[in-house]
Symmetry: C3
Subunit: 339 residues, 3 copies
């Protein structure tokens, strides 16, 4: 089992330099590659590992070819080629379709004959499990949920009622989609629950990381666009809209009714307040707090970088009086002007 | 099925302007209302949508009545009235009581005959499941847990041993209550686990969002007061006390033994350090870091708003030398004084 | 049931002052101790509670002995002694080994005869469940996972394929280990999934809190060292390495390929960017954002402490022009120098 370097080049593009019949059976890092593994060099900082690699071949850019002691697959996008080759050499394990005897599937649910429903999973009334879908162990597919073709629920995933999932969606353990949004009306000091009546609509080719939560809309729906990638432990509140091909890193929180554009990259731990709009192609660096709409593509930040505790304490003490400092500076300027 | 505008006014209060016999069957947003839906206008920024709405009636304040092209329910608190009407028109689906054959219920557990225990749920020794409680699929109700009347565990909820849940508590998927607190004693560089022997006590009318965790007390108990509302992905550490009718938004973290007052509103991503006290009626805005006790009601903040990356970098570079800037400003002031 | 103060001193060290035959049956706080309970005084701020305690004995330092109205166990490390005594007086409940009839265990899995697999748990192909392991209800032990001796999976834990767990590891509800890392290659604006082929290796004596997630490595493995303690709702990304005896508080996020040293203490809500190294014995205070490698032991910070909203707004407005302020200060200094 494996493919030759030539066959790989045919499938993913790129130019072979060296023996096209080199057999490749696995992918590996430059540092830890064993015999018959192909590695990649996409980041200049790993260049110095090229000379000592024991990989049989390396995927790299033309500029790094000189440093490569073995066969190479030359391409402008080594990381993309690597991703494709890794998927070819290490395909997802297949599965036999069917319903595990311990699964509980409602009579009114439709499970495609090519789908799998794993042990202790529950598929409730009027749910639709599409062609080639894999529902792993201990999942809950709620009433009237629809899962498009070739979706994969790894394990312990919960899809609440009426959640709509597109094609080829990958949901990691602990994901919750369609839970009630945080809708509260304050009635003389007590919180009255506002019924959450919308749904969550998830597009095609979406991936959602472990223990991430996406709330259903209050009235209209929450939308996750095609190709969106969410990392672990992210909170997506009710009526959020996330544009196509946007990626969000772990521990981010998106408050209610925020609209995020397409092709955005949101860093880890970022907070986005509710009811604002973020344009397409916006990048937000880690632990920033987005408090206003962003209309222009670009990079935005507010994460405070750590310093030694001693320096930090001194600066924080000054920060508390920054307004005062600014006034004093103005006073000094005036005094100098009048002299 | 539905109610007339007059019937709704009778049940939730407010004055009907227009045809009291208008039939209302659903709630909807101003923008997306279809025939026979009632909408609401609680926020001045949605006023401009009034004129084009296709709702049959709108819940609104007297001041907005002029702009309303259809029948109206006039009230001082349109959002509260809306929440009540939404619950009337879209009631929670009922359920037939019983225990699903796949559920595992200990002989010593007491499940009220009016309760439901769903598929693949586990109810352990000496647990008590009260009247009208709904335990959804794949839940774990640990030993000696008690769930008060009309509680709802949507799915995949875990209640660890001896957790006490009040009446009408709503727990969303992935909630964990009663897990061990993070209690560690450092013994010559290694962490020794401190047994966590307290419980979690949850009051009445509490709602807890998806994948939120509440740890048991180390010795005494962790308390969640009546009417508290917790959003998704919140961490409540051991021995925290949260006062009645406090609401906390997603991704917040409350460290051990912090005491939060009643009627507080804590924003998303807020961090609260351990062993401090926060007074009643305190509001903390998103992504703030509360490091000291707060004795006075009011609004508190420390979230840093995002700017363009370029501006941010410049300001951060200066912030690193803020203490030095303050000293230099003082020196300048002295020099000017002496001239 | 219970031990005398003398017996406790023999087992955990320390010197008895008062009646060595005092019977102790439980641990409790100074404030809430009932008859026959032992309490402890490790923190000077609790000293004032000594005089009124109803505990039969108190674990404390020599310096606090004068204030103690009852028998005492004198030790330099009262909290460590307390932790040991609490474990002696309140041992974990035992369990009868076996496999619950509702559990689904693959034919090729090996479950040690001294282990327990609870209701609705799933143990997949080639998994190994070691001696004395407790797998609670609704857990998923994926293919080729190995759990070392005396591990405890409380409930709803998911271990994805090939995860390796050391001895005496404690995993709280909702923990997910071995989920796919967030590996994406950008191909003309769309995100291509990079197969995640590494594993997670967890050392001995590790504890991981509720709903915390640890992703598998992209190619090489993610490592959690011996004695590491992770609190709730922490995200550990792919290829992170955490050194032995490091503790991380709730809601922290560690980005991909970050390497954290041994004996570190990382506060709640901290964010650590990817591909950096943190030395041994580093302490990072709550809600800091670590953006660069840290080479020296010490304390590091960047959390911004909350102030009143009014003060905050003023200072933030100035912060936006901090670079400008710095330039103006420099101009003033120059002007003064030239006079």
């Amino acid at each position: 089992v494996g493919l030759t370097l030539g066959e790989l080049a045919e499938k993913v593009g790129g130019e072979v330099v060296g023996a096209a019949d080199t057999l490749v059976t696995a992918v590996a890092t430059l540092q830890n590659a064993g015999p018959s593994a192909i590695s990649f060099c996409a980041n200049p900082s790993y260049r110095n590992m090229l000379s000592n690699t024991r990989a049989v071949a390396v995927i790299l850019r033309q500029a790094d070819l000189d440093l490569c002691p073995v066969a190479a697959l030359v391409t402008d996008k080594p990381y993309v080629a690597y991703a494709r080759i890794a998927a070819l050499l290490h395909p997802e394990p297949g599965f036999a379709p069917g319903i595990h005897p311990s699964a509980v599937v409602a009579d009114t649910a439709q499970v495609d004959p090519s789908a799998w429903v794993g042990p202790h999973s529950v598929v409730e009334d009027n749910a639709v499990v599409g062609a080639g879908v894999f529902v792993g162990p201990n999942c809950v597919v709620g009433p009237s949920v629809a899962i498009g073709p070739h979706g994969r629920l790894i394990a312990q995933v919960t899809l609440c009622h009426a959640t709509q999932i597109g094609a080829r969606v990958l949901l990691h353990p602990g994901v919750v989609i369609g839970s009630d949004g945080f809708g509260l009306a304050n009635d003389q000091g007590q919180w009255l629950k506002v019924p959450q009546l919308g749904r969550v609509i998830v597009g095609d080719d979406v991936e959602i990381g472990a223990n991430t939560t996406v709330d259903r809309g209050a009235l209209d729906d929450t939308f996750i666009g095609d190709g969106v990638k969410l990392d672990n432990l992210i909170q997506v509140a009710h009526n959020v809209q996330i544009g196509a091909h946007t990626a969000i890193a772990g521990c981010a929180g998106i408050a209610g009714s925020a609209t995020i554009g397409a092709h955005c990259a949101i860093g880890g731990g970022v907070g986005i307040v509710g009811h604002i709009r973020i344009a397409d192609h916006v990048q937000i660096t880690g632990m920033s707090f987005v408090t206003k709409s962003i209309d222009e593509p670009g990079v935005y930040s507010s994460g405070m970088p750590a310093e030694t505790n001693q320096t930090w304490h001194k600066n924080i003490a000054r920060f508390r009086h920054l307004d005062d400092m600014a006034r004093r500076l103005r006073a000094v300027e005036k005094k100098l002007d009048h002299e």
